[in-house]
């Protein structure tokens, strides 16, 4: 009789905990996205937060998969989700062989694009995948930063002199827009300079090769 009295309440408690756990796991995926980071999200919209979280999660999965290629993505995602996305803890559980088999109901989001397809995409420059912004082919720097006009505007002979004599575009401006444009100018200059140097180097190599023949 005494045994029963103990068993009944403990059973209720176990059920309660299970219920809470299920609830927690269920909602940790989406509902808590907005309130996971209560302060300091700045001007980030929920979509941006969601995207950032997705990227972080993908990065974590990728890191783990590099370490343990034998563990499948679904198991990793399940473990990450269950334990609050702690990469280190998941790694330790995999090492200890304590990962659980995810239930059938667990439907992980599809992988963005595998490294192989990314490499292929870089080659073919077809960016029709589900994550085009991040995974599309890498354009060269001139295209990327829209420097074609700037590259064409200054003749390359003067470039070296121009860049070395120009005052170092630096210094902190109190104006926000000015800071932004100064930073962009420094970036552009760095790329154009590199491109010119490389052009000169290739030309020199060609000349040397011609001289040898």
């Amino acid at each position: 009789m005494a045994e029963e009295e103990i068993n009944l309440p403990s059973l209720v408690i176990v059920l309660l905990i299970t219920g809470l756990a299920v609830r927690y796991f269920f909602f940790s995926g989406n509902a808590s996205t907005a309130n996971r980071q209560p302060g300091g999200t700045g001007g980030l919209s929920p979509e941006e937060l969601q995207r950032r979280r997705e990227r972080e999660r993908e990065a974590a999965v990728e890191t783990i998969q590099q370490m343990f290629p034998q563990v499948d993505r679904r198991t990793i995602l399940w473990d990450l989700q269950r334990h609050g996305g702690n990469l280190q803890a998941t790694t330790e559980r995999i090492l200890a062989g304590r990962t659980e088999t995810p239930p059938i109901t667990f439907q992980p989001p599809p992988p963005p694009t595998s490294p192989e397809t990314t490499a292929a995409a870089q080659q073919s420059a077809t960016a029709t995948n589900n994550k085009p912004a991040e995974k599309k082919a890498h354009p060269d720097l001139i295209t990327r930063y829209n420097l074609k006009d700037k590259l064409a505007s200054v003749p390359s002979e003067d470039a070296g002199a121009a860049t070395s004599s120009a005052p170092k575009t630096g210094g902190w401006s109190s104006n926000r827009e000015e800071r932004q444009s100064l930073l962009q100018k420094r970036r552009d200059q760095m790329i154009i300079e590199a491109r010119r140097k490389m052009e000169a180097k290739i030309a020199a190599e060609k000349a040397a090769a011609a001289g040898n023949n």
Partner: protein, 166 residues
């Protein structure tokens, strides 16, 4: 706009990187609306196959920066033993503070709030020059670097030229 700790610190780092830019590095937030998202350019170190190249990368800072490190990802093709094919950089300074669970890296090599964006970028620069062969992120690159160095260097040089549109 009131700034939190992370944003204040990043603005301060941005300022010092603008006033005293390290050689071969340009870095700053893509837009000051989001100080947690930076883009930087790193010059390939001289005397390495990366010489002459300029490599764009993005830095993403967590909300609890500088307690936790940012993540860094190259936006172009960087074929290197310590860079994942996705562009993600794997070096000890970008790893969360504390001791390595695998007792692999010293705590002093990992991230701590006394590190900075500048130190990360300088570390990445020296990583380009000297890959760490012990924990490869790109197995193919690591293997080629170890076994067929000339082929590795040629491949990197070719990608540097391609990245400059040549």
């Amino acid at each position: 706009m009131s700034l939190n700790v992370a944003q204040r610190r990043l603005l301060q780092e941005y300022r010092s990187l603008t006033n005293n830019p390290p050689e071969g590095i340009t870095a700053g937030p893509i837009s000051e609306d989001d100080l947690l998202h930076w883009e930087c350019l790193i010059q390939g170190p001289e005397g390495t196959p990366f010489e002459g190249g300029v490599f764009p990368a993005e830095l993403k800072f967590p909300n609890d920066y500088p307690h936790m490190p940012p993540s860094m990802k190259f936006l172009g093709d960087v074929f290197h033993p310590n860079v994942y094919p996705s562009g993600l950089v794997c070096i000890s300074i970008l790893h969360p503070p504390g001791d390595d669970p695998n007792h692999y890296e010293k705590a002093s090599e990992r991230w701590s709030p006394i590190q900075s964006v500048e130190k990360i970028l300088l570390s990445v620069m020296s990583m380009l020059a000297e890959p760490n062969d012990e924990s490869p992120a790109n197995v193919e690159a690591a293997k080629m670097w170890r076994e067929r160095r000339t082929e590795y260097e040629d491949r990197v040089k070719a990608s540097v030229r391609a990245s400059l549109g040549l």
